[in-house]
């Protein structure tokens, strides 16, 4: 069992959990993920590691409540409670090196996984330009945290309720067009955002790393559910990734595969909400 040390709300249906998992905290690196399972009937949920505190033995995660399981986690799992299974670190760590000037982009929930990469790139001596964005102000989080580890931070919202109005790809395009020498770009967020950012950087020939959150079960190379196509090659996001060259990823396939269980997910969520409603009425 893995104890939830603290829990706080970052936005509507976005929560940050700090979970006691000392061995994972000791060895995990930026870019890696864990898989957790809430209870005996639970599914295995892959989540990117946001931060670790080896001294306390804690791992920080950010969860967006998009389906039944994440919703249940938000509703029923409080600080002091425990979750049944927690395994990691999984995946290959980010290649943190001194590149020069890098751009780190986090879109929506992607702000969470891009944060540790940004922090480590800065710590090793890169000049780091951060770009974060969300649909609106209330969905933005970690603005200060990102500000602390970036030399320059661009904040974007689709509706202009915070920062500039527009998409994260807008400042990216401007930076590249301005002729600044950018050695490498990390872009993490919804598949469509990663696709657009990769298309922008392709024209400038700037290496671009994306982190793929395909559907997976075990997270260790066994189910093959997370397979992604990179040009002619098929790779497993869990053991070969989750980071890949954004210029090679077949994003359309990724998006189709991410949607495969949409109907089941909707049905599970509705059933869950109905039972929750009954509980409240009683």
């Amino acid at each position: 069992m893995y104890k939830i040390l603290s829990k706080r709300t970052l936005g509507p249906e976005i929560r940050e959990y700090v979970i006691e998992a000392s061995e994972v905290a000791r060895v995990a690196k930026a870019g890696q993920f864990i898989v957790l399972r809430l209870h005996e009937k639970g599914e295995r949920i892959p989540l990117t590691i946001v931060a670790t505190d080896p001294a306390v033995g804690a791992v920080t995660l950010v969860v967006q409540e998009v389906g039944k399981s994440t919703r249940e986690m938000g509703d029923s799992f409080q600080a002091g409670d425990s979750i049944l299974d927690f395994v990691g670190p999984l995946g290959v760590p980010s290649e943190i090196e001194r590149y020069g000037t890098v751009v780190c982009i986090g879109g929506g929930l992607g702000i969470a996984p891009v944060y540790p990469i940004t922090r480590d790139l800065k710590a090793i001596g890169n000049t780091v330009i951060g770009i974060i964005g969300a649909r609106s102000k209330d969905l933005l989080f970690y603005v200060d945290r990102m500000g602390d580890v970036c030399d320059e931070l661009h904040v974007m919202t689709d509706d202009g309720s915070a920062g500039r109005k527009g998409f994260v790809s807008d400042p990216l395009r401007e930076i590249l067009s301005s002729g600044r020498k950018i050695a490498r770009v990390w872009a993490i967020g919804p598949a469509i955002m990663m696709k657009v950012c990769s298309e922008v950087t392709r024209g400038f020939g700037v290496p671009t790393i994306v982190s793929l959150n395909s559907v997976m079960i075990d997270g260790t190379g066994m189910c093959g559910g997370c397979r992604v196509e990179l040009g002619e090659e098929t790779k497993f996001a869990c053991v070969d990734g989750p980071e890949f060259d954004g210029h090679k990823v077949n994003f359309d396939l990724l998006m189709a595969r991410q949607g495969f269980y949409a109907e089941q997910e909707r049905c599970a969520l509705e059933r869950y909400l109905a039972t929750q409603h009954q509980v409240e009425e009683r």
């Binding site: 399981s69 049944l84 079960i217 949607g259 599970a268």
Partner: protein
């Protein structure tokens, strides 16, 4: 009782069982078991022992059954085999013990597998026989992977008095016995019972520990452990490498079976993990995993479940009983057929194009090589495809262990008799060495490696 024929085992009616996940064969009663046991000729040379990868003293345990000494029968089995309830159900007896049975030269061989299963089930209902454990030696052995090879090695080493810790990456121990083999062939509570028995002997199992990520073989050897046994299996699914294989609804057998068995997707939405089957399912392959997948698809609600296999019936690598059960359940067999590509719309599978095959000269496996017949392509509309053409080595330990010699397929190079690898203190066995094989062969390798490890740690 007849000398010619095996005592039949009662089983669930096909019409009924394709609608549930309960076990198909129902087991022998005491009377049936005794009746089958007296068929044994008690040959002095006992070829059956030679035919058993873990060398169970088969005539002895059968003699105990014939004389109704059931507790002694299970004790005799457990001297050699720590997972009898599993082996009695999933071993390919027809090519092992029963394949060389003297009675089998004239009549049907003794139903050794069925009798083994009877003993294990009898034990579960009566007193448990806990094998004796020798005094602690002070040596510590790490075992990576809680599948058949690892659990067997762990059990043997523990009996010898060593402290054993098993590291398992999934959230339960059992490996393929839990995630791969379906409930209707090997009920999970039976596997759990065998694992609990190992834990009672003092084997420590740590689940959710991915060696190769949270720690490495080198760290284990540099830390608490005097030796390490690697039994990480063949977990990496092979795909056909044909166009359209990444379409939605094309599953690896590993994923299809893991969702169903380990995650219990057949009880979605009570359990959270979903699975999608649709009406017409094609499973590609001819082994036990293919039979398991095709039969699982039926139970998940498919109207038609079709096996597509590139060779002929004679070459089907599955156990005879599995093929028979599949046929009884109405699984269709498209033999001498191979998929050429998968066709889809908007990322979703719609059809599979196949080509007919004929058999040519034998290939390196000794089986006749399938050759495509030009112009024989045809298309089947399907909702789901399951690729069950085998697995490669699980990659994490080979990728992260320094100085571990691998073969050209990426399996760990290890002596098949001793389990010794190219690295001192590291032993390996089971599918991670041989490539995908059977539960019992992996168990045999685990047992042989345990004997070597025992000598190694005592000398050290």
């Amino acid at each position: 009782m007849s000398r010619e024929k095996q005592t039949p085992m009662r089983q669930q009616d096909p019409e009924v069982r394709i609608r549930n996940f309960d076990e198909v064969p129902l087991g022998y009663t005491e009377e049936e078991a005794v009746g089958e046991a007296v068929r044994c000729l008690q040959c002095k040379n006992a070829p059956c022992i030679e035919g058993c990868p873990v060398a169970i003293d088969i005539p002895r345990f059968i003699d105990h059954i014939a004389n109704r000494r059931f507790a002694k029968a299970i004790a005799a089995i457990k001297e050699a085999n720590s997972l009898p309830a599993v082996c009695g159900r999933v071993c390919p007896q027809e090519t092992q013990c029963q394949g060389v049975c003297t009675l089998g030269k004239r009549f049907e061989p003794v139903g050794i597998g069925r009798l083994e299963r009877f003993c294990a089930d009898w034990e579960a209902e009566h007193e448990a026989c806990c094998p004796s454990v020798q005094d602690d030696t002070g040596h510590r052995v790490g075992v990576i992977g809680a599948g058949p090879a690892g659990l067997t090695a762990a059990g043997e080493l523990r009996k010898m008095g060593h402290a054993v810790t098993v590291f398992e990456l999934l959230h339960v121990a059992g490996g393929v016995l839990m995630y791969g083999i379906p409930e209707f062939r090997l009920p999970k509570d039976i596997v759990q019972r065998e694992i609990d028995a190992l834990c009672q002997m003092g084997v420590k199992i740590e689940v959710n520990k991915v060696v190769g990520r949270i720690t490495t073989v080198d760290e284990l050897l540099g830390g608490d452990f005097d030796a390490v046994f690697v039994g990480t299996g063949a977990g990496l699914p092979h795909f056909l490498r044909v166009p359209g294989e990444s379409l939605n609804a094309v599953y690896s057998a590993n994923e299809f079976l893991t969702r169903t068995n380990l995650m219990r997707a057949f009880r979605f939405p009570e359990y959270d993990t979903p699975i999608r089957v649709g009406r017409r399912v094609v499973t590609v392959g001819g082994g036990n995993v293919a039979m398991d997948s095709a039969r699982t698809a039926l139970r998940l609600g498919a109207e038609e479940s079709i096996i597509v296999y590139r060779r002929s019936e004679e070459e089907l690598p599955a156990r005879a009983e599995e093929v028979e059960h599949a046929k009884e359940e109405g699984i269709q067999f498209h033999l001498l057929t191979n998929p050429v590509r998968f066709l889809g719309e908007d990322g979703y599978l719609k059809a599979v194009e196949c080509i007919r095959m004929e058999l040519g000269d034998p290939d390196e496996s000794g089986r006749r090589r399938p050759i495509p017949i030009d112009g024989s392509e045809f298309t089947m509309e399907i909702d789901t495809a399951v690729i069950a053409i085998g697995n490669g080595p699980h990659p994490l330990v080979p990728r992260t262990t320094k100085g571990l010699k691998l073969d050209r397929r990426g399996n760990i190079s290890a002596d098949l008799e001793t389990g010794q690898t190219s690295k001192e203190g590291v032993f390996a066995g089971g599918d991670i060495v041989t490539g995908a094989a059977t539960v019992i062969e992996a168990m045999g390798a685990g047992k042989r490696a345990a004997a070597t490890i025992d000598r190694y740690v005592r000398r050290k």
